[in-house]
Symmetry: C2
């Protein structure tokens, strides 16, 4: 049993948390859920949130209850861990899956769900997926992934996309489920207009491929893409039929630097934090807290101090297990730090502590944590 479980429902129980603790501000999270559901409805797009962000069935179930038509995941292991999410009918694996054992596991997930969709970006990959599906006696929807210009995954340009769509439409065990184009490189560009232009260019290839396929009688059932940093622009381009945004549920220090709407910070609030505790206070300039490289993502900006210390107190990493807060704080004091980059921060933690103010109201397992394979 998690050591903090005994604190659920205890008023002010936050003070006694075993730390470091990954915490979710329930009010901010519920606000973000509702804000994205409303934005998708207003734009006439379906919402299929990316669960690579949270890896958590409790959050996924709430997204579905708020109107999401399904979920995205990045990896086979995430698909396995989240397939039993209550209310889930359609799951999209957004990266190509290569390798016989992984494909056999994917086919196993397909057997558990009304609809499994998988990104493909090569003939060889599509044929291997077809083989795995037919062996398992399932049908998998193949989504042709279009390279938005990052060259991470995807085929290059509309003609290659249309050709691969024709291939998958004719392979046993597969059906052609649509096109995907995710402008990952645009998400964190701080300038609104530049970000919009890069996202628009990426979607132009998708629109052209869709036109080609419609002309030849193979219309793509869906056009999927978009992220928290670009959905507001992309919704206006008239290309996508559904949005894959994920980070909006949490936000993070990285996304806070991005203007999500022209001239505004967008409708979302910071909801994901790590509560850390002062465990040493023997020096003049800073105190030491019990959270370091093993509690925060280190690929992006630094964690930001948001409570428990004077405004603008700086955090600095002090190794794997520790950090410094440049402030005079008492031994045992709690400091709240906003997650720097939400996805890889969540991936460090087994559970999410759900807090209503200073009261712990629930502990949600992160079922797909570490399921990168």
């Amino acid at each position: 049993m998690h050591p903090n479980r005994a604190l659920i429902g205890v008023p002010g129980g936050r003070a006694d948390l075993a730390t470091p603790a990954l915490v979710l501000d329930l009010a901010a999270f519920e606000h973000n859920l509702a804000a994205m559901a409303a934005a998708a409805r207003a734009s006439g797009l379906a919402l299929r949130p990316h669960a690579k962000t949270h890896k958590c069935q409790a959050i996924a179930a709430r997204q579905l209850a708020a109107g999401a038509i399904g979920l995205c995941v990045a990896k086979t292991g995430e698909a396995e861990a989240l397939a039993s999410t209550p209310g889930l009918r359609s799951l999209l694996v957004t990266s190509p899956v290569i390798g016989a054992s992984a494909l056999a596991r994917l086919a196993g997930v397909a057997a558990r769900l009304p609809e499994l969709l998988v990104a493909v970006d090569s003939d060889a990959g599509a044929r291997a997926l077809s083989t795995a599906a037919t062996r398992a006696g399932v049908r998998i929807g193949a989504v042709v992934d279009i390279d938005p210009g990052i060259h991470r995954t995807g085929v290059a340009g509309p003609a290659a996309a249309a050709a691969l769509a024709r291939t998958v439409a004719n392979l046993p065990g597969l059906w052609f489920a649509g096109l995907q184009c995710y402008a990952g490189h645009a998400q964190h560009i701080e300038d609104f207009a530049t970000r919009a232009e890069i996202a628009r260019m990426a979607l132009a290839d998708m629109a052209a491929a869709a036109d080609m396929l419609r002309d030849e009688g193979l219309p793509p059932p869906m056009l999927t893409g978009g992220g928290t940093g670009t959905f507001a622009q992309e919704a206006g381009f008239g290309v996508l039929t559904e949005l894959q945004a994920g980070s909006y549920v949490f936000m993070d220090v990285e996304y806070d630097a991005v203007a999500l709407e022209a001239g505004s910070a967008g409708p979302f609030r910071a909801a994901l934090f790590v509560d850390a505790r002062v465990i040493s206070a023997n020096t003049a300039d800073f105190v030491t807290v019990d959270a370091g490289y093993k509690s925060f993502a280190t690929d992006g900006p630094k964690p930001r101090v948001v409570a428990g210390a004077p405004a603008d107190s700086e955090f600095a990493f002090m190794g794997d297990e520790h950090g410094a807060i440049f402030a005079a704080l008492p031994l045992g004091g709690l400091v709240r730090l906003q997650a720097p980059h939400c996805d890889p921060t969540v991936n460090l933690h087994d559970v999410i502590h759900v807090l209503d103010g200073d009261t712990l109201v629930d502990i949600w397992p992160v079922e797909a944590r570490g399921r990168s394979a």
Copy 2:
């Protein structure tokens, strides 16, 4: 059951691994185990390896079987997860533990082991530890932590160390178990002589504190410290009675840059890797593999390609789930990458795949993964 478990014992089974997979080269690991055991014996020092590196009972048990007198851990959660390691008699928590709930859990660990030792660096912390021990009816060895100049944890200077030693010697439920000084700031200094000088200065305070305590009839039973980067120097200073080195079992890209002995790379070999798979190969300059920020530590150097691609092929992160290898490789090909910084890389993975050449011989759970609280 882990998806790779079916491959155990299958000759050449590595080719079918679900990837990314954290892998241990068994021969290199066993070499490192024996080399450090021999180095400690040759220097007349006891070895108490730091288990924050591996968080894994199977590795800890092998260290104990090779002659280690006990283990170090950094956190209460690690102590709980590793207390049942076969052969473990003495466990040292090397950072101060603050907070009533964590201290109560520590006292619970003390009840499960012949000897639990805990670092203290404040009067208030020592008194709270005493209270938790007496409440639980256990005795805990308090180890006075001396600041080596990092100001992360520890008391400043020999007089403060001796004073805190006298305090803990008189507190109920505690006994004075010795002094700790870990020169964490010296471990990765590339120049041998500079590193030796910084380690020597840090240990001078510890030697002075030990002399003061011997003079007043409170001799420290042990003087603990040292890391993989400094043990060869520190063993020669005649201060420490035991070494806390941990990273030597794995080594990593970071430690490979450090001359561990004067004029040599030291006795250890790279043993910890991530095997990743090419999942997209549609572009001219590089291929995409299935490992990114969620599979490698990002606080230090980059992962280093060691097999499956031409020598000196570069790796670049391509986001949370992906990386680029700048080489022409076939779809589905396996690439082996050396872990950049071992401790936080292990902390991302639930299991360690033990490989003898291309045969998977075992899968070891990382019991203390994520146990930062």
